[in-house]
Each structure stands twice: as structure tokens, then as C-alpha cells.
């Protein structure tokens, strides 16, 4: 019970934690407030509870594939929010104006969506087994450990991205966001294949012998860049397309010199 709950919670927390840390690093570099983290996570938690309460109804939608469709929609929305954020950062480099204030709002929405999507599974898992008191204690312990590991990895990534050497090359931070965003699109495509909304084919390749998806590194890469050992052609196509768009924006951001490279890092 303990390892199961650790793994379930860690897997779900990790994605949201990494997204928060990438956003936090971008905000820090842009000199924007990071006070959106709390509201974003809180909103997401409310979303996760509401989603888990309505999962019976949602699952019935579209002849039993509502869960996949809603999940995929949220993934695509997060991707579009990433594109909008990159667009606003680019815009600032040409014309500094009030639009920059929209960035934290978009970050709140993206984090809330990510927490809703990942959190609802945790809520269902914990709620489903909380009736047995003896299980509740071990499960809560596992959940706390899992959440702790996930958040720690997020904090680690944040400090890594805030390192002055990396900050001087914003293409790294935005490039990582681009890979993350492309992974979201690939996951969304997979969900729509599972729902039979997109045609399915045999996998394009199979790297499970080299790097199994259920290994630690495989899981980390799955969350970070959407690694899939046996991807369908559609997944590879949307991943590449999504990556190209965000990466092109990342490179333009890097060249625009929008980042205040020499700002006081102690503040």
C-alpha cells in the first residue's frame, strides 16, 4: 500500500510541479511576481475535486470516452497557454506595455489545468480507500512522501533554471517548456486514439528495450518531454509540430534580448 500510494501521487504531482518550476523560473528571469503559484495550485485543487466528483457523468460522455476527451482538451489548452505566454514575452521585447501583466494570469490558468488533470486521480485514489482507517494512515504517509519527492524535484529544476549561466541563455528554459508542451500534445493525441477519435496505427518505433517507459528515467522523460517507447505516427507528428512552433518562439525570445541578463540575482 505504501509504495503504491507513493508512486501514484508522485507520478501525478511531478508533472504539475515541473510546470510550476519552469513558470517560476521564467517569471523570476522576467522580473515578474511569482505570487500566482498559490492561487494556481488552489484553483487546480478545487478543479481536481470537482472533476473527481463529476467523473461518473464525464465518463459517460461521447459513448464512454468522455474522460479521454476532457483530459485531451485540458492538455491542448495548456499547450495553447504556453504559446500565448511565449507570444507575450516576445511582444514585450518589441513594445514594453501592460500586456506583460497577462502572463501571470495565463500561468495561473495553465497550472490550475495541470493540477486539475493530474490531481483528480489522486483525489479518486485517496477517496476510494479512505473508508478503511488502517489503510488511510499508510496511504496518507505514502501520499505525503510522493508529493514531497515530486515537489523537491520541481524545486531542484527551479534552482537549476535560475542558475545565472542558464539564465543567460533563455533558450534553455523556453526550450524545456517547448519540449514539455510538445509532450502534452503527444499525450492528447494518445488519449484521442484511446477514445477512437483519432485513427490508430502500429507504433512507429519501439525503444522499450533501450529505455522502458516504466523505468525511473523513462517516467521522468515521459513527464518532462512526453517520452513514449512505442509512439503512434500521429503522436510523433503533433509532438514535432508543437515543438517546432514553441522552439521557434524560444529562439526568437533568446535573440530578442528580452531577458534582463545583468539584473541583481540576490533580490
Amino acid at each position: 500500500m505504501l509504495p503504491t500510494s507513493v508512486i501514484i501521487v508522485l507520478r501525478e504531482v511531478l508533472e504539475a510541479a515541473l510546470l510550476v518550476s519552469m513558470f517560476a523560473a521564467v517569471s523570476y528571469t522576467l522580473g515578474l511576481s511569482r505570487r500566482w503559484i498559490g492561487p494556481g495550485a488552489g484553483l487546480g485543487l478545487c478543479g481536481a475535486i470537482i472533476y473527481s466528483l463529476s467523473i461518473d457523468t464525464v465518463s459517460e460522455w461521447f459513448e464512454g470516452v468522455g474522460q479521454e476527451v476532457v483530459s485531451a482538451t485540458m492538455q491542448v489548452l495548456i499547450y495553447l497557454l504556453l504559446v500565448s505566454i511565449a507570444f507575450l514575452v516576445l511582444r514585450r521585447s518589441r513594445r514594453p506595455d501592460g500586456w506583460i501583466r497577462l502572463i501571470p494570469v495565463l500561468m495561473v490558468l495553465a497550472v490550475a489545468l495541470a493540477v486539475t488533470r493530474e490531481g483528480f486521480e489522486i483525489v479518486i485514489y485517496l477517496d476510494g480507500f479512505s473508508s478503511v482507517l488502517s489503510q488511510l494512515v499508510t496511504m496518507s504517509m505514502g501520499a505525503i512522501i510522493g508529493a514531497g519527492i515530486g515537489i523537491s524535484m520541481g524545486v531542484l529544476l527551479y534552482y537549476l533554471l535560475c542558475h545565472p549561466a542558464i539564465q543567460r541563455a533563455p533558450v534553455i528554459g523556453f526550450g524545456l517548456l517547448a519540449l514539455f508542451g510538445a509532450g502534452l500534445l503527444s499525450q492528447a493525441a494518445l488519449l484521442l486514439i484511446q477514445a477512437d477519435w483519432l485513427p490508430s496505427q502500429l507504433p512507429l518505433w519501439d525503444t522499450s528495450a533501450w529505455l522502458p517507459e516504466n523505468s525511473v528515467i523513462g517516467q521522468l522523460l515521459y513527464v518532462l518531454i512526453g517520452y513514449e517507447a512505442t509512439p503512434a505516427a500521429i503522436q510523433v507528428a503533433v509532438h514535432a509540430g508543437g515543438l517546432l512552433v514553441l522552439l521557434a518562439m524560444a529562439i526568437r525570445i533568446d535573440r530578442s534580448g528580452v531577458f534582463p541578463v545583468d539584473h541583481d540575482y540576490s533580490s
Binding site: 503504491t4 459513448e63 470516452v65 479518486i124 476510494g128 486514439i193 484511446q194
Partner: protein, 118 residues
């Protein structure tokens, strides 16, 4: 002005409904073979399923337990939460010949099964 905006919204809404209708009607016409799987006492029944290669199958999983379960398989690239006393539809395949294990993420010690594709 208001009317025009309203018309545009109405038109877009109709278009969305039509597109959704077309998309959701496609799988109906295709008529994929259906396969039933049950979860009882955190076990998959049957625990082993044999499928023909290169065929798409509609897997219907009934969760007879009062507790939720998550159908999960890395080999099949599938993941879906199934609430207690509910069923879930999961489309799988086409698959190449081989073994495709699956498990219940909430009870990974007992809820184990595999699909053998021949």
C-alpha cells in the same frame, strides 16, 4: 451589431456540434469487435486475453468492486480510471504479435493481466 455577433456565435456553435457529431459517428460505423473484461476483488477476469494481430478492439471493462481502479498498461499505452460499480470503454490495437501486460494501478499486486496477440 449585437444580432450579427449573436448569429456568428450561433453559427460557430452549430458548426462545432456538426463536427462533433461527425467525429463521434465515425467509430459507430466502423463496428469494432467488442471484448469484455471484469474486475472482481481487485483481480482481472479473465486475466489472459488472446487477440488476433492487426485488429482494433473495443475493450469494455466492468469494475464490479465498490472501489475505484485504474486500468493501466505501458505496453498498450493505455490508462483509464474506472470508478467502483462502473464500466469503461477503452479502444486498443491494432497490435503486432506479442505479449501486452496490463495492471490495475490502484492494486498493482493483485490486479494483473495480459493480452496475447497472435
Amino acid at each position: 451589431m449585437h444580432n450579427r455577433a449573436g448569429n456568428t456565435v450561433l453559427w460557430m456553435w452549430r458548426l462545432t456540434l456538426t463536427v462533433l457529431g461527425i467525429i463521434s459517428a465515425v467509430p459507430l460505423q466502423a463496428g469494432k469487435p467488442e471484448l469484455v473484461l471484469e474486475i472482481r476483488n481487485h483481480l482481472f477476469l479473465p486475466a489472459e486475453i488472446i487477440l488476433p494481430a492487426n485488429t482494433k478492439v473495443k475493450l469494455v471493462v466492468y469494475n464490479r468492486d465498490p472501489t475505484p481502479e485504474e486500468f493501466e498498461s505501458y505496453e498498450l499505452n493505455r490508462e483509464k480510471v474506472i470508478m467502483g460499480k462502473r464500466k469503461a470503454v477503452i479502444f486498443i490495437g491494432p497490435l503486432a504479435p506479442g505479449n501486452y501486460p496490463f495492471f490495475g494501478e490502484f492494486h498493482p499486486d493483485t490486479a494483473l493481466g495480459r493480452i496475447i496477440v497472435k
